[in-house]
Protein backbone atom coordinates (compact mmCIF):
# COMPACT_ATOMS: atom_id res chain seq x y z
CA UNK A 1 0.00 0.00 0.00
CA UNK A 2 1.18 3.55 -0.77
CA UNK A 3 1.78 6.36 1.71
CA UNK A 4 0.33 9.83 0.95
CA UNK A 5 3.77 11.10 -0.02
CA UNK A 6 4.39 8.19 -2.38
CA UNK A 7 1.03 8.84 -4.08
CA UNK A 8 1.82 12.54 -4.49
CA UNK A 9 5.31 11.78 -5.80
CA UNK A 10 3.97 9.23 -8.26
CA UNK A 11 1.30 11.63 -9.54
CA UNK A 12 3.79 14.46 -9.92
CA UNK A 13 6.06 12.31 -12.07
CA UNK A 14 3.67 10.05 -14.01
CA UNK A 15 0.29 10.07 -15.65
CA UNK A 16 -1.68 7.55 -13.60
CA UNK A 17 -3.36 6.12 -16.73
CA UNK A 18 0.07 5.05 -17.99
CA UNK A 19 1.00 3.24 -14.77
CA UNK A 20 1.05 -0.58 -14.60
CA UNK A 21 -2.45 -1.90 -13.65
CA UNK A 22 -1.58 -3.08 -10.14
CA UNK A 23 0.20 0.16 -9.25
CA UNK A 24 -2.73 2.14 -10.66
CA UNK A 25 -5.20 0.03 -8.64
CA UNK A 26 -3.45 0.65 -5.30
CA UNK A 27 -2.95 4.32 -6.10
CA UNK A 28 -6.65 4.80 -6.90
CA UNK A 29 -7.59 2.84 -3.80
CA UNK A 30 -5.46 5.10 -1.63
CA UNK A 31 -6.89 8.26 -3.22
CA UNK A 32 -10.45 6.96 -2.77
CA UNK A 33 -10.02 6.09 0.90
CA UNK A 34 -7.50 8.61 2.27
CA UNK A 35 -8.96 11.44 4.31
CA UNK A 36 -5.66 13.36 4.21
CA UNK A 37 -4.60 13.45 0.58
CA UNK A 38 -7.65 11.93 -1.16
CA UNK A 39 -9.44 15.14 -2.12
CA UNK A 40 -6.30 16.87 -3.32
CA UNK A 41 -4.85 13.98 -5.29
CA UNK A 42 -8.28 13.21 -6.80
CA UNK A 43 -8.14 16.68 -8.32
CA UNK A 44 -4.60 16.04 -9.59
CA UNK A 45 -5.87 12.86 -11.28
CA UNK A 46 -8.86 14.75 -12.72
CA UNK A 47 -6.50 17.36 -14.09
CA UNK A 48 -4.38 14.63 -15.75
CA UNK A 49 -7.56 13.17 -17.26
CA UNK A 50 -8.63 16.55 -18.57
CA UNK A 51 -5.28 17.25 -20.22
CA UNK A 52 -5.17 13.79 -21.78
CA UNK A 53 -8.67 14.28 -23.21
CA UNK A 54 -7.70 17.74 -24.51
CA UNK A 55 -4.67 16.31 -26.32
CA UNK A 56 -6.75 13.49 -27.82
CA UNK A 57 -9.42 15.94 -28.92
CA UNK A 58 -6.78 18.27 -30.36
CA UNK A 59 -5.27 15.44 -32.43
CA UNK A 60 -8.57 14.04 -33.71
CA UNK A 61 -10.76 17.13 -34.09
CA UNK A 62 -8.38 19.74 -35.40
CA UNK A 63 -11.12 21.52 -37.39
CA UNK A 64 -12.70 22.59 -34.09
CA UNK A 65 -9.57 24.52 -33.17
CA UNK A 66 -8.59 25.85 -36.58
CA UNK A 67 -11.45 28.36 -36.71
CA UNK A 68 -10.56 29.81 -33.29
CA UNK A 69 -6.78 29.87 -33.45
CA UNK A 70 -4.95 32.92 -34.85
CA UNK A 71 -3.64 32.85 -38.41
CA UNK A 72 -0.22 33.84 -39.67
CA UNK A 73 0.12 37.41 -40.97
CA UNK A 74 0.18 37.60 -44.81
CA UNK A 75 3.51 39.52 -44.81
CA UNK A 76 5.12 36.79 -42.69
CA UNK A 77 3.74 34.17 -45.05
CA UNK A 78 5.29 35.92 -48.06
CA UNK A 79 8.69 36.13 -46.33
CA UNK A 80 8.51 32.47 -45.43
CA UNK A 81 7.48 31.46 -48.94
CA UNK A 82 10.54 33.23 -50.37
CA UNK A 83 12.77 31.54 -47.83
CA UNK A 84 11.35 28.09 -48.54
CA UNK A 85 11.62 28.61 -52.30
CA UNK A 86 15.31 29.48 -51.92
CA UNK A 87 15.95 26.54 -49.58
CA UNK A 88 14.13 23.88 -51.57
CA UNK A 89 15.92 24.61 -54.89
Amino acid sequence: MFTCKQVSNALSKEDYEKMPPLRRFFLRLHVKLCVFCGKYNRQVMDSQDMCRCYKEYEMTSEETFVQYRPEMEPAKKDQLKELLASQSK
Partner: protein
Protein backbone atom coordinates in the same frame (compact mmCIF):
# COMPACT_ATOMS: atom_id res chain seq x y z
CA UNK B 1 19.92 -1.06 -51.88
CA UNK B 2 16.12 -1.42 -52.06
CA UNK B 3 14.17 1.42 -53.66
CA UNK B 4 12.40 3.82 -51.34
CA UNK B 5 8.75 2.65 -51.07
CA UNK B 6 6.11 4.81 -52.73
CA UNK B 7 4.46 7.16 -50.20
CA UNK B 8 0.90 6.11 -49.29
CA UNK B 9 -0.28 9.73 -49.30
CA UNK B 10 0.74 12.40 -51.84
CA UNK B 11 3.65 14.55 -50.65
CA UNK B 12 3.02 18.28 -50.87
CA UNK B 13 6.10 20.10 -52.27
CA UNK B 14 7.74 22.53 -49.79
CA UNK B 15 6.82 25.56 -51.96
CA UNK B 16 3.17 24.93 -51.06
CA UNK B 17 3.68 24.28 -47.34
CA UNK B 18 3.11 27.89 -46.25
CA UNK B 19 -0.25 28.14 -48.02
CA UNK B 20 -1.43 24.70 -46.96
CA UNK B 21 -0.08 24.31 -43.44
CA UNK B 22 1.20 27.76 -42.38
CA UNK B 23 -1.97 28.83 -40.54
CA UNK B 24 -2.50 25.42 -38.97
CA UNK B 25 1.03 25.19 -37.59
CA UNK B 26 1.05 28.85 -36.51
CA UNK B 27 -2.21 28.34 -34.58
CA UNK B 28 -0.81 25.20 -32.98
CA UNK B 29 2.38 27.04 -31.94
CA UNK B 30 0.35 29.96 -30.55
CA UNK B 31 -1.66 27.56 -28.40
CA UNK B 32 1.58 26.58 -26.65
CA UNK B 33 3.66 29.75 -26.86
CA UNK B 34 1.14 32.67 -27.00
CA UNK B 35 3.90 34.88 -28.41
CA UNK B 36 3.46 35.72 -32.15
CA UNK B 37 7.19 36.23 -32.78
CA UNK B 38 8.10 32.94 -31.12
CA UNK B 39 5.29 31.18 -33.03
CA UNK B 40 6.53 32.62 -36.36
CA UNK B 41 10.09 31.48 -35.58
CA UNK B 42 8.74 28.07 -34.68
CA UNK B 43 6.87 27.67 -37.99
CA UNK B 44 9.94 28.81 -39.93
CA UNK B 45 12.26 26.42 -38.06
CA UNK B 46 9.76 23.60 -38.60
CA UNK B 47 9.59 24.13 -42.36
CA UNK B 48 13.38 24.40 -42.67
CA UNK B 49 13.87 21.24 -40.61
CA UNK B 50 11.15 19.59 -42.74
CA UNK B 51 12.99 20.38 -45.97
CA UNK B 52 16.22 18.95 -44.57
CA UNK B 53 14.50 15.78 -43.34
CA UNK B 54 12.10 15.34 -46.29
CA UNK B 55 14.05 12.37 -47.64
CA UNK B 56 13.28 10.51 -44.42
CA UNK B 57 9.52 11.13 -44.71
CA UNK B 58 7.99 7.71 -45.34
CA UNK B 59 4.58 8.94 -46.55
CA UNK B 60 2.65 6.74 -44.13
CA UNK B 61 0.61 9.72 -42.90
CA UNK B 62 -0.30 13.19 -44.06
CA UNK B 63 2.77 15.42 -44.20
CA UNK B 64 0.89 17.96 -42.09
CA UNK B 65 1.04 15.61 -39.10
CA UNK B 66 4.69 14.85 -39.80
CA UNK B 67 5.42 18.60 -39.75
CA UNK B 68 3.38 18.93 -36.55
CA UNK B 69 5.61 16.26 -34.98
CA UNK B 70 8.71 18.30 -35.91
CA UNK B 71 7.02 21.43 -34.58
CA UNK B 72 6.46 19.93 -31.14
CA UNK B 73 10.24 19.70 -30.68
CA UNK B 74 10.63 23.28 -31.91
CA UNK B 75 8.00 24.45 -29.39
CA UNK B 76 9.96 22.85 -26.56
CA UNK B 77 13.13 24.57 -27.86
CA UNK B 78 11.34 27.94 -27.97
CA UNK B 79 10.09 27.59 -24.38
CA UNK B 80 13.59 26.60 -23.23
CA UNK B 81 14.96 29.69 -24.97
CA UNK B 82 12.34 31.92 -23.34
CA UNK B 83 13.12 30.47 -19.90
CA UNK B 84 16.85 31.09 -20.40
CA UNK B 85 16.08 34.75 -21.13
CA UNK B 86 13.77 35.11 -18.07
CA UNK B 87 15.25 33.09 -15.24
CA UNK B 88 12.70 31.46 -12.90
CA UNK B 89 12.79 32.81 -9.33
CA UNK B 90 11.01 31.17 -6.40
CA UNK B 91 8.31 33.48 -5.02
CA UNK B 92 7.98 33.94 -1.25
CA UNK B 93 4.50 32.39 -1.27
CA UNK B 94 5.83 29.32 -3.07
CA UNK B 95 8.78 29.05 -0.70
CA UNK B 96 6.31 29.00 2.24
CA UNK B 97 4.37 26.21 0.54
CA UNK B 98 7.53 24.15 0.06
CA UNK B 99 8.32 24.58 3.76
CA UNK B 100 4.77 23.84 4.94
CA UNK B 101 3.95 20.87 7.16
CA UNK B 102 1.47 19.33 4.73
CA UNK B 103 3.86 19.44 1.83
CA UNK B 104 6.68 17.88 3.85
CA UNK B 105 4.40 15.26 5.38
CA UNK B 106 2.22 14.23 2.47
CA UNK B 107 3.49 15.99 -0.65
CA UNK B 108 0.26 17.97 -1.07
CA UNK B 109 -0.63 21.65 -0.65
CA UNK B 110 -3.84 21.27 1.34
CA UNK B 111 -6.09 18.50 2.60
CA UNK B 112 -9.22 20.36 1.62
CA UNK B 113 -9.11 21.97 -1.83
CA UNK B 114 -12.24 23.73 -3.09
CA UNK B 115 -14.41 21.33 -5.09
CA UNK B 116 -15.10 22.01 -8.78
CA UNK B 117 -18.11 24.28 -9.32
CA UNK B 118 -19.17 22.10 -12.27
CA UNK B 119 -18.33 18.62 -13.48
CA UNK B 120 -15.81 19.07 -16.34
CA UNK B 121 -16.13 15.42 -17.43
CA UNK B 122 -19.63 16.13 -18.70
CA UNK B 123 -18.18 18.63 -21.17
CA UNK B 124 -15.39 16.47 -22.62
CA UNK B 125 -17.39 15.70 -25.79
CA UNK B 126 -18.14 19.36 -26.37
CA UNK B 127 -15.66 21.05 -28.73
CA UNK B 128 -16.44 24.48 -27.26
CA UNK B 129 -15.19 23.32 -23.87
CA UNK B 130 -11.74 22.58 -25.31
CA UNK B 131 -11.63 25.98 -27.03
CA UNK B 132 -12.32 27.58 -23.63
CA UNK B 133 -9.77 25.23 -22.01
CA UNK B 134 -7.12 26.35 -24.51
CA UNK B 135 -7.90 30.03 -23.91
CA UNK B 136 -7.65 29.45 -20.15
CA UNK B 137 -4.23 27.79 -20.48
CA UNK B 138 -3.03 30.89 -22.34
CA UNK B 139 -4.09 33.04 -19.36
CA UNK B 140 -2.14 31.05 -16.77
CA UNK B 141 0.80 33.13 -15.58
CA UNK B 142 4.40 32.25 -16.45
CA UNK B 143 6.46 30.38 -15.28
CA UNK B 144 3.61 28.08 -14.15
CA UNK B 145 2.19 28.02 -17.70
CA UNK B 146 5.56 27.15 -19.23
CA UNK B 147 6.07 24.33 -16.73
CA UNK B 148 2.55 23.06 -17.45
CA UNK B 149 3.00 23.14 -21.24
CA UNK B 150 6.36 21.36 -21.10
CA UNK B 151 5.42 18.73 -18.52
CA UNK B 152 1.77 18.06 -19.29
CA UNK B 153 1.03 19.08 -22.88
CA UNK B 154 4.40 18.25 -24.43
CA UNK B 155 5.07 15.19 -22.22
CA UNK B 156 8.59 16.16 -21.17
CA UNK B 157 9.87 14.22 -18.17
CA UNK B 158 10.25 15.86 -14.75
CA UNK B 159 14.04 15.71 -15.17
CA UNK B 160 13.91 17.38 -18.60
CA UNK B 161 11.65 20.20 -17.39
CA UNK B 162 13.74 20.78 -14.25
CA UNK B 163 16.89 20.95 -16.38
CA UNK B 164 15.29 23.33 -18.89
CA UNK B 165 13.90 25.62 -16.18
CA UNK B 166 16.85 25.20 -13.81
CA UNK B 167 14.55 24.37 -10.88
CA UNK B 168 14.21 21.51 -8.38
CA UNK B 169 11.55 18.77 -8.78
CA UNK B 170 9.81 20.15 -5.67
CA UNK B 171 9.55 23.59 -7.19
CA UNK B 172 8.26 22.09 -10.44
CA UNK B 173 5.56 20.45 -8.33
CA UNK B 174 4.65 23.89 -6.90
CA UNK B 175 4.52 25.44 -10.38
CA UNK B 176 2.24 22.65 -11.65
CA UNK B 177 0.07 23.09 -8.55
CA UNK B 178 -0.20 26.83 -9.31
CA UNK B 179 -1.02 26.12 -12.96
CA UNK B 180 -3.78 23.64 -12.01
CA UNK B 181 -5.19 26.09 -9.45
CA UNK B 182 -5.31 28.95 -11.95
CA UNK B 183 -6.67 26.74 -14.71
CA UNK B 184 -9.48 25.54 -12.47
CA UNK B 185 -10.37 29.08 -11.44
CA UNK B 186 -10.29 30.33 -15.05
CA UNK B 187 -12.31 27.39 -16.34
CA UNK B 188 -14.96 27.82 -13.67
CA UNK B 189 -15.23 31.53 -14.44
CA UNK B 190 -15.26 31.06 -18.24
CA UNK B 191 -17.36 27.93 -18.56
CA UNK B 192 -20.03 28.64 -15.97
CA UNK B 193 -19.98 32.35 -16.85
CA UNK B 194 -19.50 33.29 -13.21
CA UNK B 195 -16.56 34.51 -11.24
CA UNK B 196 -16.98 32.01 -8.47
CA UNK B 197 -14.36 33.35 -6.04
Amino acid sequence: MPDKPEPKVPVTPPEQWVDKYGDYLYGFAMSRLRNPDAANDCVQDTFLAGIKALERFDGSRDIKFWLRGIMRNKIVDQIRKSIKENKVDIEAEDEALLESFWFKYSGIATTNPDPWQFNPRKSYDNGEFWIVFEKCIAQVKDPAREAFVLRVLEDQTTEEVCKAMDITPNYLWVLLHRAREQLKFLLEASWTGENVK
